[in-house]
Subunit: 243 residues, 6 copies
């Protein structure tokens, strides 16, 4: 195991370079370009006054999310889902993950009857698109809530502490942080973690399709993930000018 090294020269527990660009586009209330290395996701937060039917007259707001890949985002172009008339299961799965995660970062009872729609569109994919999406979406959400507060339609302070997400994988027995596509496709175990700065989990998803994983290994992976999320949250705060 002494000879293992990563193709991009990173240490095992090192993130790719992270960039968070606010106001990437101007129409949505929040618009962020997030980059984890070569992975680039445009995360927007659009606001709508009013809530879906199942939330009407609840006094609460709502937040929902959609994730998608542009057809040219991947190395081999993928067919456009709208043209096929079918949304892939993977797309649905990640949209649901992003929505659940970001609802943990907002207090809906403080939002008033407003809806925030997150859109995470992958411009360029190189692994970790879902974790980049969650990390960028928090920043877009913060900007959208700022907008709503400026509009005077939010009764309280709906924004909760930052959350960030990162992947950890096991490659040839080594625990590696923040996998690019090449590593992701051959990882024995793949773990995605969504976390608060406190170290508390919002969501963990670990999969061992090419090999099982034990409690000990899970613990080590969570340690690495926690460190990664801490760094990502620092980047979010810096982007938001909070630090």
């Amino acid at each position: 195991m002494t000879d293992f090294s990563r193709a991009d020269g990173r240490a095992l527990d090192q993130l790719r370079s992270v960039r968070i660009t606010r106001n990437f586009t101007t129409n949505p209330a929040g618009s962020v370009l997030v980059e984890f290395g070569n992975t680039r996701v445009m995360c927007t937060a659009s606001v709508e006054f009013g809530v879906p039917r199942f939330k009407r007259d609840s006094g609460e707001g709502w937040l929902t999310a959609e994730y998608a890949m542009l057809p040219s985002a991947t190395h081999e172009r993928m067919p456009r889902e709208s043209m096929k008339g079918k949304v892939k299961g993977r797309t649905h799965e990640i949209s649901r993950l992003v929505g659940r995660s970001l609802r943990a970062a907002v207090d809906l009872s403080e939002l008033g009857e407003n809806t925030i729609q997150l859109d995470c569109d992958v411009l360029q994919a190189d692994g970790g698109t879902r974790t980049a999406a969650i990390t960028g979406a928090y920043v877009a959400l913060a900007d959208a809530i700022e907008y709503l507060k400026a509009e005077g339609v939010v009764p309280g302070e709906p924004l909760l502490d930052p959350i960030a997400a990162v992947s950890v994988g096991v490659i040839d027995g080594h625990i590696c942080l923040d996998l690019p596509y090449e590593e992701d496709s051959r990882a024995e175990v793949d773990l995605n973690v969504v976390m608060q700065e406190s170290g508390d989990f919002v969501e963990i998803q670990g999969t061992g399709e090419h090999g099982l994983f034990g409690r000990q290994q899970l613990g080590e992976m969570l340690d690495v993930a926690q460190q990664g999320c801490t760094e990502l949250i620092a980047a979010q705060k810096a982007a938001l000018g909070w630090s």
Copy 2:
């Protein structure tokens, strides 16, 4: 916390009564009715000689899964997905989980170029349908592989050690095993674990939409999950006459 008790009188770490009925229907190579309390899922394993295009000439087999709910399975009838022309994200997400999990219980390289299609159709839903589906599907898979071996088309021994799945949740701060619908809908944290008898994980998915969870609590939940999976694997083995 001394006053907490479960509506059905179970201990916190107690499974609902589990029943596994083989040969529930006669057309598929494997057909199992699995019951976790009032949750009832029909798990079938159909075999097809040949593999999908992306596996052709690989010498390997393939396994895939589809999960669905009958419209009358839930307390309030749900619209039929085929009639709406749309499969819900939740359905896709669980189908993918079942497929990934069961591929960890089969050595595709020993299966020959055959395909196993798992179908998990929920006849009655009372929480834990995805964990019951995975647990029952292993038994259907075992029967289907037995059938393929009897047909003489399987070169090796594709069946791996049993896997089972169970849910654990946190309710009013208490860690509870195998949640029925009533508990599931108000749990602060929800964890689904797919495990081998060895205690190694195939998949873990933990979600804290109504509350975060820490490392300590995760550990306790995994302990309870492991105990539940061990009991479920014993039930699988008994149903298969292996014990």
Copy 3:
């Protein structure tokens, strides 16, 4: 013609063994498993307070039905309609037949503005799934109306006399009652009859794709069908405890 015998040893005018199990599942107001030999259909009747738009303010109720096959119900697994995004014409045709037939067993003007949704899901198919569905659906309907009456929301007595359905076919020139799949697929003529105990018809559908049929033969087939329906109605009444 003296040598003709049926593969399962039945007399030409003999039904397969019929079983009707009430309360098969617990969520819907009526839930019945009906078995005609190896054909098994789960028939449920769900109730909803209120009616579709075209019946609003009519003072009348509504009844509608959906029929479907589980993918593993047939000998060769069939693709799942929800995943294909297309409902087959056969499925539509039978759903419409079941709905029309059962509307003949209910007086909508006595139902109040309530809706009964029948779902007939075939767990195992061996011919006669539509006739089993209709026969079982009547029993589920009776239970659902009993439930509505207990709820106090039904102003009158909406349930009409029992209806049952059976198939008759011509095989090698012989008129046979209640065809299993093997006979159905090679029948020269196929007739489905939905009938009241009085002998009056709700629906008849006769098809001669592999051979025409004359008036004389139609009469003989209807005689056999009437006898079959009479026996099925007796089984319905016994299941409902009416006899």
Copy 4:
């Protein structure tokens, strides 16, 4: 009952005026406009060399049919099925009926590996569209087979004896032939019959949604239907120049 009369002044057992126009359009091998009173259906038979996969290398041909209504065919415009992305159950049901019926008028084993696609598009609807479609489709089929024979690709004589279809209904207790929309919508019983000149049935479909029907009444309805079909077959023969 002595005072009953039909809105259009016809005798109870009288057809509406029937017109069959061949070569209505020029692209398909057979193209017929059939009119039953105000009901007008364009029936075309297109030929394709080759057969669908399930018939390949069978030495036999295939015939299939599609029925549809133009959106402006009915009194109230109906939404266009292609724009809704959904084909109605009624459309599927009638397409299947037309296909089954016309396959009874062709000997596929004499057709060679050729496919005939029938399209029955309703230009104007006033009841009886399915029976007009079947009656007109036979004439289009005859022309298409003539074309295939002229092309020299048909080994034998695939065309069988004419079939025609007509509706019979019970209105205020009176048996009426060939119902226009106004009668059809209030008929107690509705029977559609597809018949050969011999009087043998291809298909019968009788429905009593607003009232049951007995054996005696069925017999009387079939008598009237037979007379109607005989007249329609005479009209088909005249149009084809066979008489």
Copy 5:
């Protein structure tokens, strides 16, 4: 270039024979069969009291259009869009063109809150289906507005001056008017023009997929188009009895 002649013997700037038949069917408020040579399109105008949501309480009416081809309209039968579950881009494009064009022939502010739905269904296609559709739709529109005025629900005079449409193409360097399919498929340049009698344009669409076109040539094509539209408007007026 002196030897160029058209397959049907027409002069370069000559229309095919044009026929406009009003009251082609009886259910819609306006129903026209328009023929440009062998191209035949059924154009109907259905009226609905009320407007779509985005026009509600505007005091104005609305007009929309759908264009479609019957599957047997073309030389080779085309799959039916409703059965494929997909509307082709070409169909959408022409529907939008027809709608835009005809909205230029109606003053929505004079229509009251009524909706006119145009349907242009191609019974037989031989090039120029979109231009025939527009030309025929104007006549159907005129009849529908006459109907609305007779109903007393139109406050003003919504019908504007006639518009007509024609195609012009460049074939082997020659500018030809009103192309049939054979010419259309090999034209270097294809121009569709929608025009008022005044010579003012409603819409021009020129495409040079097999060759570019210059300003000079565009001018010559527009001259020919204007002459064609003038003749078509004369035919519309004659059909409407306005001349």
Copy 6:
């Protein structure tokens, strides 16, 4: 008319500021971000060895295009087409326009049996998205062909002279070049022109929904469009390093 001025202070015949960024993403063979003022479109050209079935064994290549808007591109968020399961007619129409236009910039017979797939995804919409898409797509196409030539799979020189596209509109009687959304939505006449540097047209589409336009005005609009295209082609050449 002396007082007319544009909201952004431009001269009537002045383009918005144009930026063309090559290599915007790294996976496709060509990837360009094109900006016309606030309109931003990501244009990619992906290459695939081989051609669709209808071009197989032709010795020629193929080029096709898809245009789409991200849901957050517009001021009010638009529903995602993939989630609705329906592609809007406008999307189809523009996809077809982009494909037709760019096929005029490539000699398919020199491309070999390779396919170029253009994707034009609008990141931010402020009018002129289709003209920006075409203008940017040419540059992406040039890069993709360069890539194919470097791969040695292109037998000849498929790239033809640059094409560019621009919109011209009439606003309060004034002819304006390159309309932003605010102008576009209230223009009396809207003209899109696709042009080569020579001044020859690839496509012209002029629409007068809120007012007709005469020959004279068309001529003036074409003059302005030609000037705009000339400037855009200069920008393309500069971006490609050709000037």
